[in-house]
């Protein structure tokens, strides 16, 4: 079957693209790696900046978006995409299981994944004190000491969530100012059991049966921070390995694309966190989904006219 467009990813960008594709009467489907996934937003405890849904938890917001797309008849195909191949009249999408799907256009909305620290002890202690999901694992550290590493919204939100459970939260950041929203920084500053450790670079995670300490470097000196858990929130890396040879990426790996979603490859569009942009939030991801479908329609009409 030749689709008009296949949408890779079922986060807010992909789900909104599905909603717009349905309304545009396109032959389309959403390809997702994780069954019933809704992207990174599911892992956010509370979303205060998506208009109309003040205070909603990220999982519920994701479910609402998914229900919306499902109500409009969206088909979800479970595949891990490993590569794309340009063919006459469109694209072939190659999957980990060896399947090949065909579509006239492709929308890359596969978002980003949590970045790792790449320091000694990180891999060894993952699942035994090192975590990338405060919501998932926070409760195991009730009454214990934890370190949260990072300076963005995720790190600050994680620290605030963990402060409700843990006895003590060390918030470790390599710079002296946070990138996070002012409201979150203020909240953290007024939370008694959060201690800020700034201008500190994590260098090692130590443990015996599980994590016991984080070693940081400050002004060239090493310091030991006693911690039973280390929560890593140092940003994300775009999931663009499958388009590396196909579309132009920036130095970090984001697909270079303007608001229209058009990439350097014909018939290939990018939406959501995966593309170069100023603000990576649900509100801009959903907008990208809508724009990408408008671009797909224009592309298909233009191709038909030739």
């Amino acid at each position: 079957m030749m689709y008009d467009t296949l949408i890779i990813g079922s986060g807010p960008a992909g789900l909104t693209a599905a909603i717009y594709a349905s309304r545009a009467g396109l032959q389309y489907a959403v390809i997702e790696r994780e069954p019933m996934g809704t992207g990174q937003i599911a892992y956010t405890e509370r979303v205060d900046n998506y208009p109309g849904f003040y205070g909603i938890d990220g999982f519920s917001l994701g479910e609402k978006l998914r229900e919306h797309a499902e109500t409009l008849g969206t088909a979800f195909l479970e595949h891990e995409v490993t590569g794309l191949k340009s063919v006459q009249n469109g694209w072939q999408i190659l999957t980990a299981a060896g399947d090949v799907l065909e579509s006239r256009t492709v929308i890359c909305a596969s978002g980003a994944s949590p970045k790792r620290l790449e320091i000694s002890g990180e891999s060894e202690w993952t699942g035994r004190g090192v975590s990338y999901c405060a919501l998932c694992d926070g409760a195991f550290f009730t009454g214990k000491r934890v370190a949260v590493i990072g300076g963005g919204n995720t790190a600050l939100s994680d620290a605030l969530y963990l402060a409700k459970l843990a006895e003590k939260v060390y918030l470790i950041h390599r710079r002296d100012v946070f990138r996070a929203d002012h409201a979150l920084i203020e909240q953290a500053a007024h939370t008694d059991n959060i201690e800020l450790v700034l201008q500190a670079i994590p260098v090692e995670i130590q443990g015996t049966d599980s994590v016991t300490a984080l070693i940081v470097s400050r002004n060239g000196n090493k310091h030991l921070i006693p911690a039973d858990g280390v929560f890593v929130a140092v940003g994300s890396v775009p999931n663009t390995a499958y388009v590396r040879e196909i579309a132009e990426l920036d130095s970090i790996g984001y697909i270079i694309a303007p608001e229209s979603g058009e990439t350097s490859a014909k018939g290939l569009f990018a939406a959501g966190d995966i593309r170069t942009k100023q603000v990576r939030q649900v509100v801009t991801a959903t907008a990208d989904g809508a724009n990408a479908i408008a671009s797909v329609q224009a592309y298909i009409q233009k191709a038909a006219a030739v």
């Binding site: 994780e34 069954p35 019933m36 996934g37 599911a42 892992y43 405890e45 999982f59 993952t126 699942g127 035994r128 004190g129 975590s131 999901c133 919501l135 998932c136 694992d137 926070g138 409760a139 195991f140 049966d209 599980s210 858990g229």
Partner: protein, 107 residues
């Protein structure tokens, strides 16, 4: 739907079970746990003759959580005659869980 068990049922459901038991230590706030739930239900019926699957809520079962040193949700532990024989920390794909189950049936 896999049976939810606690400390009180653990001996009978896991330690004294004739069949190997896959225990899913999950938490209410854990999204990967929610996503894995339908996968485990499916595997429970696929492997009904070979394996039992139980769910343990780490938010309430503190003693079992401590006893098995769970620090990541979900954690899947495979028991045979009450003895731990394998463990997956963090979310697992269906294929990984199947590989774990197949391993248990070989041993």
């Amino acid at each position: 739907m896999p049976l939810k068990i606690g400390k009180a049922e653990f001996a009978e459901a896991v330690e004294q079970s004739e069949l190997p038991v896959l225990a899913d230590f999950y938490s209410d706030s854990c999204i990967p746990c929610k996503r894995m739930s339908p996968v485990l239900s499916q595997l429970e019926s696929d492997y009904a003759e070979k394996l039992k699957i139980v769910k343990i809520n780490t938010n309430f079962e503190k003693e079992l959580t401590e006893q098995f040193q769970i620090q990541a949700a979900p954690t899947l532990i495979l028991f045979d005659k009450g003895k731990e024989i394998a463990r997956i920390r963090g979310a697992a794909k269906k294929e990984e869980i199947i590989a774990l189950i197949e391993q248990a049936n070989k041993e």
